[in-house]
Symmetry: C2
Subunit: 226 residues, 2 copies
């Protein structure tokens, strides 16, 4: 048996992985970034082949990783997690610095960053895994906690976008006998669906100050959908 709920027990952080240069930069929200060796310090970053940033990392041969905190602005998550850089300039208006390899480093809501030079690219199927050697790393804000995927799902009610390594088709989850009672609510601004079947809290029980985890719209901007 494959019980997909078990996969939700794996722990991840959430990061902005960026690449490019001063003229054209792009980035995406990733939860699969991790250290693979200590000596020398090497890291792996997993990226969907269809992801615009994947082709930029291939061209640039380097990437940066911004570790974001638990209070990260929903606009940052919406911008990097649910939009493509093919259509928009994701870096516009952000607080950026440029690394030793020239890649942009997003400093908004960032508690620490790392910059890596790609030394190996591995094809793992739908995704590429970039192995990078550490070029520089720095703490930006030591007062805040890193945003984890678990916190994002439980507290901020977010879901993985379709091209994430951890995206799970809800139809694969073991069906809940009470599922028929659950309702769905859609954000009229960005289309995000709050599906009670996936959540610990009924939509009506969410606090009034709750906002769309993707675009930051207010609870009153949601409508019930089938």
């Amino acid at each position: 048996m494959i019980q997909f709920e078990a996969l939700f027990k794996i722990s991840y952080g959430l990061y902005i992985v960026s690449s490019g240069n001063e003229n054209k930069g792009n980035g995406f929200i990733s939860n699969t970034f991790f250290q693979v060796t200590a000596e020398p310090p090497r890291f792996a970053s997993c990226c969907n082949k269809d992801n615009h940033t994947a082709s930029i990392i291939k061209d640039t041969g380097a990437f940066s990783v911004s570790i974001i905190h638990t209070d990260t602005d929903p606009d940052i998550i919406g911008r990097f997690g649910y939009k493509s850089g093919k259509d928009t300039d994701k870096m516009a208006g952000l607080n950026l610095k440029y690394g030793k390899t020239g890649v942009p480093i997003v400093l908004n809501d960032c508690i620490a960053f790392l910059e890596c030079k790609v030394i190996q690219t591995i094809d793992v199927g739908t995704h590429l895994m970039f192995i990078g050697e550490l070029v520089q790393s720095e703490i930006i804000d030591d007062t805040k906690e890193a945003l984890t995927y678990s916190y994002y799902r439980k507290i901020r009610k977010g879901v993985a976008p379709k091209n994430a390594p951890t995206y799970i088709d809800k139809s694969k989850l073991v069906s809940n006998p009470f599922a028929i009672e659950y309702k769905k609510f859609e954000c009229t601004a960005c289309g995000y669906i709050y599906d009670e079947a996936d959540e610990d809290t009924r939509f009506a029980d969410l606090p009034d100050e709750w906002v769309c985890p993707v675009c930051g719209s207010e609870k009153s901007d949601f409508i019930e959908v089938q």
Copy 2:
């Protein structure tokens, strides 16, 4: 600049990665296990080349991953995290089941497990990365929280063993101007060092019920060392 403290901000879980068969099984504590593709579900596990389990995974072509909870018995962490299976039978006396590939799956303190068949082995330097395709996965206990590396470090005061991908030589950390005031305490049972320079709490301020994160010995079993 490389500021190694920034690496502590990356989020990880803690897992028992096991391999072998009914006659001879072995496992180790890993913090680098993660999903790399959704379709089909594939996972990566990073393992030091010197690690006894690495050679068993190579021979067996499969591995299991037990996701352990925050109250995991210190004996389990000590057994799998700080001892080699070359010298001891780590599986002795444990609650095991055997997977579809024949590998042992540790059920002690386990909230969910996954079993994977290795489809690719990547050399990333000191470590091997095994890419595995999901064979089965199951929730064992949905009432407990997964143990994270951050929780292990902050709450349980644990440190990464030397062959972990995330091991950091303390001499590389930016020196603390007050470090000269910090003291070290050694567990007389297992040799674990509680170094105040790495911790948020002075040894004297730890509660009396605090135990060695490696072997579970009592606070009174520690002696001050230079």
